[in-house]
């Protein structure tokens, strides 16, 4: 019995430590802010319409944890994403959004995936002559996005953050999606904003 209690105690301590570690070291708030700015620039200002829903309420554990690690948050470094190379890609992504992707997103032929990329959702909705070009734009966009996620992690000295940065961006892409755009929920099913 005592063994069990010790084990449980150890386990919970380990779990707690693990949770705190993730939150302390990955600057989640800074990443979210950086992603918000980056994506806002790419998508354009129209996204700040009234149709943008308020962010979903955080689960209570998260706020409790925030309370405990508040000082850690304050000490968090800013997540820098403004390297010249990333800025170049951002400009290229904006151009691609304006010329191809915004139209395709509005038409529902492509959607935002749960891993922060774009995917062709309904190719049949696109005239055949444009389909090949759209596939290409999606492939190029995804190459740029993957490079941006990897580069932000690296530029901040933490290549291992890449997955978390990608997740943070994924949430922000959906957050800033305009009404009518499709996005994947956590199970991978397509939903419409």
């Amino acid at each position: 019995m005592r063994h069990l209690r010790t084990m449980l105690l150890t386990l919970s301590l380990v779990l707690l430590a693990a949770c705190v570690t993730i939150n302390v070291y990955f600057p989640a708030a800074a990443a979210e802010k950086a992603a918000e700015q980056f994506i806002g620039n790419v998508i354009g200002d129209v996204a700040k319409d009234a149709d943008v829903k308020p962010p979903p309420p955080r689960p209570p554990q998260a706020s409790l944890l925030d309370f405990f690690i508040g000082s850690a948050h304050a000490a968090e470094p800013d997540l820098n994403i403004q390297t010249p190379a990333v800025r170049d890609i951002q400009a290229r992504m904006k151009q691609r959004f304006d010329s191809v992707l915004t139209k395709a997103l509005a038409a529902g032929s492509i959607g935002l995936t749960r891993d922060g990329l774009v995917a062709v959702r309904d190719a049949a909705a696109v005239p055949l002559a444009e389909r090949s070009g759209l596939n290409q734009a999606v492939a190029e966009e995804n190459r740029d996005r993957k490079a941006v996620y990897a580069e932000i992690a690296r530029a901040n000295g933490h290549p291992e953050w890449e997955a978390q940065i990608q997740t943070t961006f994924a949430a922000q892409w959906v957050q800033q999606a305009r009404a009518g755009w499709y996005y994947q929920d956590a199970t991978g099913a397509w939903k419409q904003r």
């Binding site: 190379a85 049949a124 696109v126 055949l128 002559a129 290409q136 492939a139 740029d144 993957k146």
Partner: protein, 669 residues
């Protein structure tokens, strides 16, 4: 639908023959069979019509054509019989149901019986089907002519065998002679105009494709089909592959026959003259998880760049290589089975490849290579006239290859001339079927590369020296190229070592390079002379650790440059260093006094920068809170350069250095 008309008219024809000889009779039959078609519960009535003539009525409960899995029901045809001299004519309406629950399909028809020969025409705008009897009574032959049949009338039928099909359009025309017996092959000429289709997921689609050709169908068991035809114009999309066909003359021949649960395509010939010629055979099981069971490419001849532009550009563009320019001729053969590629061989003749944006290219590539998944393949060789990697020119080279147990490797070291020296491929093994990260194993070495040529090629200020090194292992995993070992540069009369080299996304978006650099005893007068930032004498040592270049621009490093044994420094160099430190000149020397002297002695010189987030965190020889010493003077006049700015924007620093190198006076705040 064509089948339904055909079935209907064959039945009508048979009954008409009977009626011709026995007019005025009510007849019925349980079933009738011809050409593999069976008609059940037939009733024929000839009744007096309203205008004194005779009304012919034909009914059949079911028409079945089992070979094509077709069943129609409730066939009903009615027409007034018009007897003329030696001719019977009957024009009316016929209808039948294609499926049990569907609405009946109606069509107008004209049947003419002249000298015992039947001519039947079915019309349903815009399609027209004509069936006419030829030859004599003893050996009658039937000619079938179909015109302008809209393919979407067949969409239900086509969807039954390809459920993903969402839309089909185009017009079908057929000319055929029905075989006199089931063992004679059915020969038909067909043409499909403006063929277009789409699938629900949009991955397969076509538009405006024209197809015309001959089909020989042997309906015995098992059935066999032989196609000889031509594709003219239009476009096709299959997954990532997008092809715009030539307007004329792309030949497509093949034979098709069932083989157990699969279909065998044999004698496939696809010939796009002057562009691509393919001869192949395949075994495909459409219902299996991996439909392709076998594919043998007997020969593939591609003329570049035509073949690339027509067949490969869509795939290359998806991979980010849309701007690849090519020339030459490629001949290949390959075998695939359920486990993937089993063997492959390619012969290249005078192939040039060039991707100017990435600075990658090869010219005069030629040779033969063969790879086999198991066993040993005949040795191959590959040679080229010149090549470019990141704008660095590589010379002509000849390489020898051998494939053994699935690995294609160099049989002997290949020496490739590079900027006065050479790049030696000591070892190179390719495992095309291995897991990612184990597909390539390589070791290379560099000998005697001229730094003057290298610096020129990279657009740097020109400096002399030699570069050499060894990379005993090179790995490529997840778009990251890691080079163990290192490079050594004999430069500026000292040495510079580069280790920990890694390239991320070497040919992709934002290529990035990581390295650790250490240098020792570089002659400062040679170095400063090269970069034109004023003269400093002495010996420089230091490091640039965790250097990271993204898109060939530095984004982070930790650098320390120091000359601890003293020397002399020119006035201009003093200015340069001052500008880097962002501070003024300390130790009481006024600028006006400074101007009187050309050079000054120094005891120690040190400069450090940790680049992070586009900001350079500066340091010098020693730090004292907000200030750090960059140069410690010696002798008279004694100078002391002290830096005040501990953080300088990298872009500002670069601007200051550029200004110093170009001789314009830096602006110091």
């Amino acid at each position: 639908m064509s089948y339904c008309f055909r079935a209907a008219c064959i039945v009508l024809a048979i009954v008409f023959c009977a009626q011709g000889r026995a007019a005025g009779l009510h007849a019925s039959a349980d079933s009738l069979q011809a050409y593999g078609i069976s008609v059940e519960s037939i009733e024929v009535e000839l009744d007096p019509g309203a205008d004194g003539g005779q009304d012919l009525q034909l009914r059949a409960a079911q028409v079945r054509w089992p070979e094509f899995d077709l069943t129609f029901s409730e066939l009903h045809a009615q027409c007034p019989l018009e007897p003329e001299a030696a001719t019977w004519r009957c024009a009316g309406q016929a209808r039948l149901r294609v499926a049990k629950a569907s609405k009946p399909v109606e069509a107008g028809f004209v049947a003419t019986l002249e000298h015992g020969r039947l001519d039947l025409q079915l019309n349903r705008a815009p399609a027209r089907l004509t069936l006419s009897q030829q030859g004599d009574d003893a050996a009658p032959r039937w000619q079938v002519q179909l015109r302008q049949l809209p393919l979407d009338w067949l969409s239900d039928l086509l969807r039954a065998s390809w459920p993903a099909l969402s839309r089909v359009e185009g017009q079908l025309a057929i000319d055929a002679e029905l075989p006199s017996s089931a063992t004679t092959p059915l020969q038909l000429d067909y043409s499909l105009r403006d063929l277009g289709f789409d699938t629900q997921d949009g991955r397969s689609a076509a538009a405006h494709v024209s197809l015309a050709g001959k089909l020989d169908v042997t309906t015995s068991t098992p059935w066999r089909l032989r196609h000889r035809g031509q594709i003219g114009g239009g476009e096709l999309l299959q997954g990532a592959l997008h092809v715009a066909f030539a307007d004329h003359g792309t030949r497509l021949d093949f034979a098709l026959a069932p083989e157990r649960d699969a279909y065998r395509f044999s004698d496939v010939v696809y010939d796009d003259p002057g562009v691509l010629e393919l001869k192949a055979s395949a075994l495909i099981a459409p219902s299996a998880d991996s439909p392709l069971r076998q594919l043998q490419v007997d020969s593939l001849v591609a003329a570049l760049p035509q073949a690339q532009q027509r067949y490969l550009d869509s795939l290359l563009a998806l991979a980010g290589w849309g701007e690849l320019a090519s020339r030459g001729r490629v001949t290949a053969r390959a075998q695939f089975d359920a486990d993937g590629i089993a063997s492959g061989a390619a012969r290249l003749d005078e192939v040039d490849l060039d991707e100017a944006k990435r600075g990658i290219g090869i010219k005069g590539l030629g040779g033969e290579l063969e790879w086999r998944r198991s066993g040993t393949a005949p040795p191959g060789q590959l040679a080229w006239q010149s090549a470019t990697v990141y704008s660095l020119p590589l010379g002509a080279a000849r390489t020898q290859w051998l494939s053994r147990d699935g690995a294609l490797s160099l049989t002997q070291r290949a020496q490739i001339p590079l900027l006065g020296g050479s790049l030696d491929l000591e070892r190179l093994e390719l495992h095309p079927t291995a897991a990612s990260g184990e597909r390539m194993q390589a070791a290379l070495a560099l000998h005697g590369v001229e730094l003057s040529a290298l610096s020129q090629a990279l657009g740097w200020p020109r400096f002399g020296g030699k570069l050499g090194g060894a990379v005993p292992e090179l790995r490529y995993v997840d778009e990251r190229l890691e080079l163990t070992g290192g490079l050594m540069l004999n430069v500026f009369d000292g040495t510079l070592n580069v280790t920990g080299l890694a390239l991320e996304r070497p040919f992709g978006v934002l290529p990035s390079l990581s390295a650790d650099i250490a240098f020792d005893q570089l002659d400062l007068s040679l170095l400063t002379g090269t970069f034109d930032i004023g003269d400093i004498s002495g010996r420089l040592s230091g490091y640039v650790r965790t250097l990271r270049l993204v898109d060939w621009q530095p984004v982070s490093f930790d650098a320390q440059l120091q000359a601890l044994d003293g020397g002399r420094i020119s006035q201009r160099a003093v200015n340069t260093i001052s500008s880097v430190g962002g501070g003024g000149i300390a130790a009481g020397i006024q600028a006006s006094v400074l101007k009187l002297f050309d050079t000054f002695g120094y005891a120690r010189l040190g400069l450090g920068c940790r680049l992070e987030n586009a900001v350079c965190h500066m340091r010098g020889l020693d730090a004292d809170g907000a200030r750090y010493t960059l140069v410690e003077g010696r002798g008279l006049p004694r100078i002391q350069i002290v830096g005040h700015q501990s953080e300088v924007d990298w872009s500002v620093l670069v601007e200051r250095l550029k200004a110093a190198a170009s001789g314009t006076k830096p602006v110091i705040n």
